[in-house]
Subunit: 151 residues, 2 copies
């Protein structure tokens, strides 16, 4: 189990590669972002994205799942107050295989809640050609090991 | 159809209210953010979020859908290069009813692609108690009306 104290600046967590299937792109878009280039191959080709492409929010959600599988799922995470920025640098196209990492940038104990601390991460996603498709930075709250189980 | 030219600074698009059902929270979390407070009512109550609460990425995706239904679905949107920030200010709990708006902050034609322009929005989500639960700012690309259909 990873606690606040384990997230020392410079520590890096690599993601396992994950394929983005056309059906997943369409399913997410149907619920949350039903724009033509996220729903239809031909509409995607006609758009500036160049093919059936994942909603940016889908790309972000996939990145979240990759973080969970890489380290967050075995941590004392207490959620996140937000993200500092999220750049969707290149389209994520149907069939792409994403990989990436989260890097600890800084950490600080909470002043208002002594049981938790904030850890700031930089998160990067790349496709199978080595192109960076997504970059974000944001903080996650973790319980502190030395303060017991309750925040 | 709304084009780049229609997004004048100060223009405001209100969202239709949308209920966040427990089953939706659990389904999204199972796919993308399987942390206990997003999967289980009791685990949520024990967390600092205070109940079964939507993943922040789910809240963001719901906000995206509310934008689509409010105006983006009838626009010449060409996608987004990213978001400047996203604050998840309060937990979104099962049963919450969200409303909100997008406000045009600024707009500029693309220098590299004469057929499109960038519009920066501020987007806010509130719950049924009038509490702001999410705030974000980011840009969306739109085709320009006077440049024809192809970017």
């Amino acid at each position: 189990m990873l606690y606040f104290e384990d997230f020392t600046p410079g520590r890096r967590f690599g993601y396992r590669p994950k394929a983005v299937r056309p059906a997943d792109i369409v399913a997410f878009a149907s619920d949350f972002d039903p724009q033509p280039m996220h729903l239809d191959e031909e509409a995607g080709r006609r758009s500036i994205l160049g093919g059936l492409s994942a909603s940016g929010w889908h790309t972000s959600a996939i990145g979240m799942r990759m973080m969970i599988d890489a380290f967050l799922g075995r941590s004392a995470s207490q959620g996140s107050p937000g993200i500092d920025f999220m750049d969707w640098k290149k389209p994520v196209l149907a069939g792409d295989v994403l990989s990436g990492f989260s890097l600890v940038m800084e950490s600080r104990p909470s002043t208002s809640r002594p049981g938790i601390g904030f850890v700031k991460f930089r998160n990067e996603l790349t496709n199978q050609s080595g192109e960076t498709v997504g970059v974000s930075e944001g903080s996650i709250m973790f319980r502190r090991r030395d303060r017991g189980m309750r925040p």
